[in-house]
Symmetry: C2
Subunit: 110 residues, 2 copies
DNA sequence: ACTATACATGCGCATATACGCATATGCTTG
DNA sequence: CAAGCATATGCGTATATGCGCATGTATAGT
């Protein structure tokens, strides 16, 4: 098939939803907190400073989007990053933003 | 500096906004239409099937986010992709989604 | 100067969603 | 079975934003 075939409406919707899931600071914070391994909800609440209910909801959103995986163990529920592409995504965006900000800063210095 | 230093609140906000800009199907459609070179607003309106006002607004959003660049030539305004990381971003998300969907489909077949 | 063309923008509405609060559910222990 | 802890969820509210519609602004041609 053609490498550059335009995406269908449904595909575009899916891609957009994917990006939307990553468009909340609190969810990015959660992802960041999971960068070096799985954590329980309680740990994530402590790490992010959010309320328990809100954190739980965000974790649900991320899990439904297959970004996170859920593992239940006794009373606790452990979440972890399920989609490794997340790492690259964050790297890319961070790199792009750094470049953008550096250039903005340079506009004053030069 | 540490490779894994957690991002500041401001940085997280910026990253989130970046993803948010990419979380609308119509904007993705515009980006897709610009994949092989710059186009005028009129061409983009025709290519996407959106209304002129709406398209213009989305183009503004994308330009303010430094995703697109704007070039005025006479009556027309030409937009083009300014941030090359967009290509990688879309590739990554599409690849991840394909994998996800394939696995879902496989869950029925197997 | 007037008109036409291409693009941008102000306004209002409808919808989506993040958050706080309270409460429900599930599991473990005594 | 009762009680307690960890997590999930229903509900209301405030805010954000995509869209349609109409209108404003800039540039080119006569």
């Amino acid at each position: 098939m053609a490498r550059k075939a335009p995406l269908s409406d449904d595909a575009l919707e899916l891609v957009a939803r994917r990006f939307a899931v990553l468009s909340e600071p609190m969810r990015l914070r959660l992802i960041q907190a999971l960068f070096d391994g799985e954590r329980s909800v309680g740990e994530l609440v402590a790490a992010t400073g959010g309320t328990q209910g809100n954190i739980s909801r965000h974790l649900q959103t991320l899990t439904q989007a297959h970004v996170l995986a859920r593992r239940k163990e006794g009373l606790q529920v452990y979440y972890s990053i399920a989609d490794p592409s997340i790492f690259r995504l964050c790297e890319l965006v961070c790199g792009s933003l750094e470049k953008s900000l550096t250039r903005q800063a340079g506009a004053f210095g030069a």
